[in-house]
């Protein structure tokens, strides 16, 4: 066992653990995307960032790939971590706004804006499928190609792979392929529905005015903005309310 300092607390961890494993053990929630317990850590999605080192000489590192060392100082919820992580989520949203995993992350961590041009590529290059194929399915049918902004995942020479057994492991594990749930916002925007799970509609709308009623969808995820709150406080009916 070795000692590390986790969020100002001295804690004992197994030697050989990654910082992420230590955090999980002690119940600290760290978001991940390219990490899966059954696969080798990759460190590509940069969501599991933690701040390492003694201030002011600290750096951010992906906790899934960072090994625990004696006396390591780790902080998991600093402003720097949050800012960088939120920017990563915003970037992910701009590539794969249709992914439920990404939209859920955005809601969970309060990322409410999407300032980049949406590309809708539906691949975050997290490499889960590549590792799934190689490490769990012993397939090695797919891999990374090119680098930088041209990077993609494909079979060798982009032709059907002879070693692929069509097991579907890659699709099973893909975080970008699961479609998002329908919310009030357009498909290519931030959903944020889960941010306000209070059934505000019951109070504010009647059936005739509820847009969800027309759409035939569940209405619990309407966004309650400040305006409506004010209107409610002033006792205004929706038709009198100023938008």
């Amino acid at each position: 066992m070795i000692t590390i300092i986790l969020n100002n607390l001295e804690v004992q961890v197994e030697e050989g653990w990654s910082v992420l494993e230590a955090c999980k053990f002690y119940g600290l929630e760290i978001p991940t995307l390219c990490y899966n317990e059954g696969l080798s850590p990759y460190g590509g999605c940069r969501l599991c960032l933690v701040e390492i080192g003694k201030p002011p000489n600290t750096k951010l590192a992906s906790s899934c790939t960072y090994p625990c060392e004696e006396g390591l100082i780790v902080r998991t919820d600093t402003k720097r971590v949050i800012n960088a992580r939120n920017m990563m989520i915003e970037l992910m949203l701009s590539i794969a706004p249709n992914s439920k995993t990404v939209q859920d992350l955005a809601s969970k961590f309060g990322v409410k804006q999407l300032r980049f041009t949406v590309r809708n590529e539906e691949c975050l290059l997290c490499g889960l499928c590549v590792r799934m194929c190689r490490e769990q399915m012993d397939g090695k049918a797919i891999g990374f190609q090119n680098r930088g902004h041209n990077k993609k995942i494909s079979t060798p020479f982009d032709i059907r792979s002879e070693v692929c057994r069509l097991c579907g492991g890659c699709i099973y594990i893909c975080p970008a392929c699961q479609l998002r749930c329908h919310g009030p916002n357009p498909d290519t925007a931030v959903c944020n529905a889960c941010l306000q799970m209070d059934p505000t509609c019951v109070d504010v709308y009647d059936q005739a005015q509820c847009w969800m009623y027309d759409a035939g969808r569940c209405g619990t995820c309407v966004r309650e903005d400040d305006n409506k709150k004010n209107n409610q406080e002033q006792g205004l009916r929706p038709d009198e309310a100023k938008s």
């Binding site: 800012n83 970037l91 701009s94 975050l124 930088g148």
Partner: protein, 1053 residues
């Protein structure tokens, strides 16, 4: 010796000694030809062939030797030859020079003057290598030996004491001693991060492992950096020697040199060096009987920039994808094939033998507290002496750029220097005195990097620079980290939008946030520094980003989508020059006339006296002569006048029945009045002189701008419905309050700058001393001015030249002398005007300033002058004139005209007017609205800016009119900025081969000097139709290069 291999240190020592002696005793002259990759590209191999042939022809075999060496560092002078032992330096040698070099220099010991180096700043000719300022401030401890040795011959390396360090380390120094020595020397990694080399070695030494590796990182990928290549090409054994020492210190038995395959010559030389060293037993098993085994292998890289990162590099050697991995574990613990590995850059290895030979104390004596030794920089970009420079740490950027580098070519102004390659940052001119070391560069927001140094001048757009590097990085990011892959891509997208005129105000904040996130969240050095180009340009050049985003302007005229056609872009009245030129080229003169008329209220005037900024930014001018845009405009206007097209008054909008007053009928006033009238306002112009035109009518003499031409333009404006009231001076005949009482809803003050400045020297108030403006006004109004026989004029602006040319047309005047304190180069007057004045017999004395006006009974009889010389550069980069003491002399004159500048006469302003004046007597207005402090009162033109050009005043008038319109409509009066685009795209003409070969700017036909005497006939006669069409066809049509332009003529990609 056994199999030719050294069996002991003694044998090596002896061999070095013999080689040294041989070098010292051999006095045969040696022609050292620089033949690195750059030298070869500039033709050094052909020079070598020619020299060999010439030696044979001149039967000098054996009396002179040719040595083919690596790069001498002075790329600008390639191919260059140094003649040893005399150290004679020949630059830009061509094969045809071989004859002179052999027959004159070698046979007769005569210097071939034309091949000598000339200093770009002083023009001084330098004979010897070490006298050249490029080499003077350098300290070439690593690169210096390049010029001494043939890199393909180990014997040559031994003869300069090469491999001597090995005799030291195997003789009494144990590995700990070596590491201690390296730590003591203070050497830090030269690859960029600057980690202390000795410490790194110590970690690797302490790591336990059956096998240890060392690696030489020769994956040099920064654009513009090539010092590692040059060292490997020119002195490969130096690198090997360093590696052997390092391997011995760490206990490594195998070494790798990871080198880019794009470096064929370096590869060839290093491979040969390994073979030679192996053959002598300097590499291999049991080196010189020491029991130490060490082998070096080559690993060729495919050119991925990220493979310069150590963990990616090792992955690449292992045959995996070149992607970095998380550290720890550090390579010293788990590196190549999971074994302890030490990795250093080429230049770092090259420094090791020096430290061992000369000692750590000697090495630590060079440089600063935290950064020891020297650093090689590749000094490239807008710099006179392009080349590899090796300077001691701590030298200032200014010394490197201006002393070693010889400054900026073409007298341009320095803007910024980019250090550290794509991951580095731009350092602005305010930081030029920054000492070069790891810490201060990092503090300034850049990095040392591998030593790229790209110098940029005023014609560089910093946003474009950021875009260039981001484009490189988004390609070269390995793509593993989302932050780096997607971050650099998005940064590039945003910056691209900004450079193409689609930027939004919020973009700056987003750029800053994203850049910080990319820096923070990325795993390896590439990602962590990838945002530096954005962050450093944002730090020092945020204004430029704002200019692009808000004003849709690119101050350096680089961003194509923003600038479109530079001629139209720079024109204050938005004249679509490239469009009317295109129409002239097709012979459609009437359409061209309409295009000119559309934007320019005084086109015939501009066709004659405009200062044509359009021509100075014309792209044709960059490669040859700019298009004669002003002359083309005049041609169209003359043609239209002949066809009587000018008479038609323009259509105005429906009358609004709102009265606007314009004070002053100069270009600003006329332009504003015209525009407001077109917009439907009832405009009245108040003019203090008896005639309209302001400076155009009273300031510019007839021979440049005939009154008939001016009046035609003015009449056009008046005929459209503008009222003109002459002899109405503001402050004398009426006040601002009067105007407001008369129900004028807005007032535009455009009274120009007509008051001549005094000189503040004794005697200037004497009789027959005239301020230039007063003199020109009198002459232009047809009044008599009593000029003497000898007229002196002080000043160098257009007023001075105009006054001189008017004076010389006077029958009584025999001699006109202009006194100007700087040189012709600095003269603000138009070049062609100065030439005409000289042609007509005006004498201009440069570098002369008056100190006293000599009088006799109150009349001028002469001026005492003092000679000036150009002193040090001031902040603007121009040299300041300083008087030469004791050089006073007197010139005899009887009339003196002073033309040292004008100011507006704003004496009408009273406290109650609530109009603020600046200390230059100009009116203070809001830059965005032309509003003075008083509501409803606007001002523009020279009265706001001080004396400026006609077209600037026209532009101000036009813009102010739009602001007034918005003001009167009750909306925000601020200027609206739009992207510069022509109203119509014209199909380009195709030129014949013959036309391309013979294309040149036409000479403006002028009256002969004889015909100009004693009259005010217009001097310039205008282009003929044939000349105009031919000239117009030469236009490069820059506006068609934008995406809009390509689309419009159906040539999009």
């Amino acid at each position: 010796m056994n199999n030719g291999k050294f069996q002991s240190i003694e044998e090596l020592k002896k061999r070095i000694e013999t080689a040294k002696q041989k070098r010292e005793t051999d006095t045969t002259p040696v022609l050292t030809v620089s033949a690195g990759t750059c030298g070869q590209a500039r033709g050094s191999m052909e020079v070598i062939d020619a020299l060999e042939k010439q030696i044979k022809e001149s039967k000098l075999e054996g009396k002179v030797k040719i040595k083919v060496t690596g790069c001498h560092g002075f790329c600008e002078a390639e191919p260059n030859i140094i003649l040893k032992p005399q150290d004679l330096f020949y630059q830009h040698v061509q094969p045809q020079d071989a004859e002179d070099i052999i027959n004159m220099t070698i046979s007769q010991e005569k210097v071939v003057d034309r091949l000598l180096y000339k200093e770009p700043a002083s023009g001084e000719v330098k004979k010897k290598e070490n006298d050249i300022s490029f080499y003077e401030k350098q300290k070439r401890i690593v690169m210096g030996d390049n010029a001494l040795i043939d890199p393909t011959d180990i014997e040559d390396y031994l003869s300069i004491g090469g491999y001597f360090a090995l005799t030291k380390i195997f003789n009494g120094m144990n590995p700990e001693n070596i590491i201690e020595e390296v730590i003591k020397s203070g050497l830090r990694g030269r690859g960029g991060a600057g980690f202390p080399t000795g410490k790194k070695w110590e970690f690797a030494r302490r790591s336990s492992g059956d096998i240890k590796y060392i690696i030489c990182n020769a994956d040099e990928g920064d654009p513009g950096a090539y010092m590692d290549r040059s060292l490997m090409e020119g002195n490969p054994h130096r690198v090997l020697e360093g590696m052997i020492i390092g391997a011995y210190a760490i206990g490594a038995s195998e070494g790798y040199i990871y080198i880019r395959d794009e470096y064929p010559l370096a590869l060839k030389h290093i491979m040969r060096a390994i073979e030679e060293a192996e053959a002598l037993g300097l590499l291999g098993d049991n080196i010189m009987g020491s029991g130490f085994d060490f082998k070096v292998r080559i690993s060729k890289g495919a050119g991925a920039f990220v493979c310069g990162e150590e963990t990616a590099l090792m992955a690449s050697i292992e045959g995996k994808i070149g992607e970095p991995r998380q550290r720890p574990p550090f390579p010293a613990v788990k590196g190549l094939w999971k074994r302890p590995t030490n990795i250093n850059n080429v230049e770092t290895w090259g420094n090791i033998p020096i430290i061992i030979n000369k000692g750590a104390d000697w090495f630590a004596g060079i440089g600063t507290k935290g950064s020891k030794g020297t650093k090689v920089f590749s000094l490239v970009g807008k710099i006179n002496n392009t080349g590899l420079v090796e300077v001691p740490m701590g030298i200032s950027l200014r010394e490197v750029i201006f002393d070693v580098g010889g400054g900026i070519p073409g007298g341009k102004e320095f803007k910024a220097v980019q250090t550290g390659g794509p991951s580095g940052g731009c350092i602005p001119k305010e930081k030029l005195d920054l000492p070069i070391d790891y810490e201060s560069l990092a503090e300034a927001g850049s990095i040392m990097g591998s030593g790229g140094m790209i110098v940029m001048d005023e014609n560089t757009c910093m946003v474009d620079v950021a875009k260039y590097f981001l484009n490189f990085l988004r390609d070269e990011s390995c793509g593993k980290c989302l932050s780096c892959r997607e971050g650099t891509q998005r940064l590039w997208e945003i910056v691209t939008d900004i450079t193409e005129g689609r930027g939004k105000k919020e973009d700056i904040e987003l750029l800053e946030q994203l850049a910080v996130a990319v820096k923070d969240a990325s795993m390896c050095g590439l990602g962590q520094t990838a945002a530096n180009p954005v962050l450093s340009t944002l730090k020092y050049f945020k204004d430029e980003y704002y200019e692009h985003i808000v004003k849709k302007k690119c101050p350096a005229l680089v961003c194509k989508e923003i600038v479109s056609a530079p001629c139209q872009y720079i024109c204050p009245v938005d004249q679509e020059a490239s469009v009317y030129i295109a129409l002239i080229a097709q012979g459609k003169f009437e359409e061209a006339f309409k295009i000119i008329r559309k934007d320019n209220p005084l086109p015939s005037v501009c066709g004659r006296v405009c200062d044509h900024k359009c021509e100075s930014v014309c792209k044709s001018g960059e490669i040859g002569e700019p298009i004669a845009i002003r002359a083309l405009k005049r041609f169209v206007m003359d043609w239209a006048a002949e066809k009587k097209l000018n008479g038609q008054p323009p259509k105005t909008e429906k009358r609004k029945n709102v009265k606007v007053a314009v004070v002053g009928s100069g270009p600003a006033g006329l332009a504003a009045a015209h525009k407001l009238n077109l917009l439907g306002y009832d405009v009245t112009i108040f003019e203090s002189q008896p005639v309209a035109g302001g400076m155009l009518s009273v300031g510019i003499p007839e021979h440049r701008l005939p009154k008939s031409v001016l009046n035609a333009d003015i009449d056009y404006i008046l005929n459209a419905g503008v009222t003109l009231k002459t002899n109405m001076a503001l402050g004398k005949d009426f006040t601002l309050d009067d105007l407001l009482n008369e129900k004028f809803k807005a007032i535009f003050i455009a009274i120009g700058a007509h008051k001549s400045l005094g000189m503040n020297i004794p005697g200037e108030n004497a009789e027959s001393v005239f301020p230039a403006m007063k003199f020109l006004t009198q002459v232009n109004l047809g009044k008599h001015v009593d000029l003497g026989e000898k007229v002196g004029i002080i000043g160098g602006g257009n007023a001075a030249i105009d006054a001189a040319r008017v004076a010389i047309r006077n029958k009584n005047t025999k001699k006109v002398t202009i006194l100007y304190r700087r040189t012709q180069k600095e003269m603000p007057a138009y070049e062609e005007e100065v030439e005409s004045a000289i042609e007509e017999g005006v004498d201009i004395q440069f570098l002369t300033a008056p100190t006293e006006v000599l009088t006799d009974n109150g009349k001028v009889k002469g001026v005492t002058c003092i000679r000036m010389k150009l002193g040090d550069m001031d902040e603007s980069g121009r040299r300041r004139p300083v008087p030469i003491e004791g050089s006073e002399y007197t010139i005899e004159i009887d009339t003196l005209i002073t033309a040292i500048g004008e100011r507006p006469d704003t004496s009408f302003v009273q406290e109650k007017d609530n109009i603020r004046l600046t200390k230059w007597d100009t009116i203070q207005t809001d830059e965005e609205t032309y509003l003075t402090d008083r509501t409803g009162v606007f001002a523009g033109g020279d009265v706001v800016t001080g004396p400026s050009s006609v077209v600037k005043a026209l532009g101000a008038g036009k813009e102010a009119a739009l602001c007034i319109d918005r003001f009167l409509q009750g909306v925000n009066p601020a200027k609206e900025y739009t992207l510069n685009r022509p109203s119509v795209y014209i199909e380009p003409v195709e030129l014949t081969e013959e036309e391309i070969d013979t294309a040149h700017r036409p000479q403006m036909p002028r009256l002969a000097v004889e015909e100009r005497k004693f009259n005010f006939k217009e001097v310039e006669k205008g282009l003929t139709e044939e000349m105009a069409v031919r000239e117009a066809r030469r236009c490069l049509r820059c506006e068609l290069e934008t995406e809009d332009g390509k689309k419009a003529i159906g040539r999009e990609k």
